[in-house]
């Protein structure tokens, strides 16, 4: 049985370590905040200029001056601080964020990521994604294993325009978890319940090694 979105978010949350500063992308990565393991404290960075992002506000308490990078209203914590976009991306580019969890359209077996542009469709822009994958120490991508059409998304080479080259360290899909290393390539390290290696192979273009725990 493949993982749900919440399952994938929960699995991604296991990558968090106590004291981490983390940036969560839009979509499934945002759900990771709901699955932070007990006893672990992480600080969420929002690239529009905030450290220490709190939960969504209660109804009627939204503040137009307090939004996340997805433009959703959020709240602050006692530990929060605000800064400019230049300072925020200096923080990101300078390698101060330990972990970024992002969505993806395609991942290649060398760690290339494509998640911002589909040629021929209206392009909304890369926002901060290129900065995050280039600057953050460890990049975890969470995405469905295949397209709606059934076409694989873990590929030999990305066919979509890239967000970054060789940047993905870990890929979590609804079928399993894959480590990606610059020399090692892709290694399947976990399978969702009842998912078989054969199924993953059938739905994957990239070559991968097996080290399922």
């Amino acid at each position: 049985m493949a993982w749900t979105r919440e399952d994938m978010a929960a699995r991604a949350a296991l990558e968090l370590k106590d004291g981490f500063y983390v940036n969560l992308g839009i979509g499934i990565p945002t759900l990771v905040a709901n699955h932070i393991p007990a006893g672990i404290s992480v600080t969420l960075q929002s690239e529009n200029g905030m450290l220490g992002m709190g939960p969504f506000p209660y109804p009627g308490e939204a503040d137009a001056d307090l939004i996340n990078a997805g433009k959703q209203t959020i709240t602050e914590l006692p530990s929060s601080s605000y800064f400019s976009s230049a300072d925020s991306f200096a923080m990101i580019r300078g390698g101060h964020i330990a972990l970024s969890i992002l969505g993806g359209m395609q991942v290649a077996q060398n760690g290339d990521l494509a998640n911002w542009m589909v040629p021929g469709k209206m392009v909304k822009g890369m926002g901060g994604a290129m900065d995050l994958v280039a600057g953050v120490g460890r990049v975890v991508v969470v995405m469905d294993h295949v397209e709606k059409s059934g076409a694989p998304k873990l590929l030999t080479r990305c066919t979509l325009p890239l967000t970054g080259v060789g940047v993905v360290d870990l890929l979590i899909t609804d079928l399993g978890v894959f480590e990606i290393g610059p020399d090692e390539g892709v290694t399947l390290i976990e399978l969702a319940p009842d998912v078989t290696v054969e199924e993953v192979k059938a739905k994957t273009e990239a070559a991968f090694a097996l080290a399922v725990k």
Binding site: E47, M50, I67, N68, M122, K124, M130, A134
Partner: protein
Amino acid sequence: MLRKIRDGAAEALSGLLFDGMTVMSGGFGLCGTPETLIAAIKAAGVRELTVISNNCGIDGASLGLLLEGGQIRKMISSYVGENKLFEQLYLSGTLELEFNPQGTLAERIRAGGAGIPAFFTRTGVGTLVAEGKELRDFDGQTYVMERALTADLAIVKAWKGDAEGNLIYRKTARNFNPMMATAGKVTVAEVEELVEVGALDKDGIHTPGIFVDRIIQGGPYEKRIERVTTRPRPEREAA
């Protein structure tokens, strides 16, 4: 002393606008955008603008107003979703668009204000963004050279400001405003509250007055929210 305070947005922009000019506009989405000054630029009808702003507002609000008037020729942005009119104008070839990664955009503007003509960054190496740009290795890593951005006019929105042009921003409404204030040949600021000189915390001023040429009391502020997102109150509280 030269007075920086102007009586309203039209007066603040008087003599500064011309067709074909480059305008930087602070804000992230609708958060921290100089609404009052944008409305005045719309009213002034100046055209063929190159606008540097992280986003282009939404239909009917913020920079979306300048799109409606056909005043923008080119946008330099990192993200332009949430705007149907933008899409139409772009697909019809009426509107030129240059995407920058958000951090590269912020740093290019910071560099423009800081006398740094160019810098190197890892962001975008190996992607469309680096095409045609100089690549260079430092300590075994490849970087792309990015150039500084400046503008004929920067418009910024702050929370509080004084007659010297000292500004303080509020929460995530700060975003691109501080860098843009440094990178305009002329910078005009609008504030929610004009305060007495000396009322702002001297250790907490985000934009020192040297960067601000003119300042107005802005508003009335609509402060629209793009995505009001809430969570339910815990039941015991709601009960």
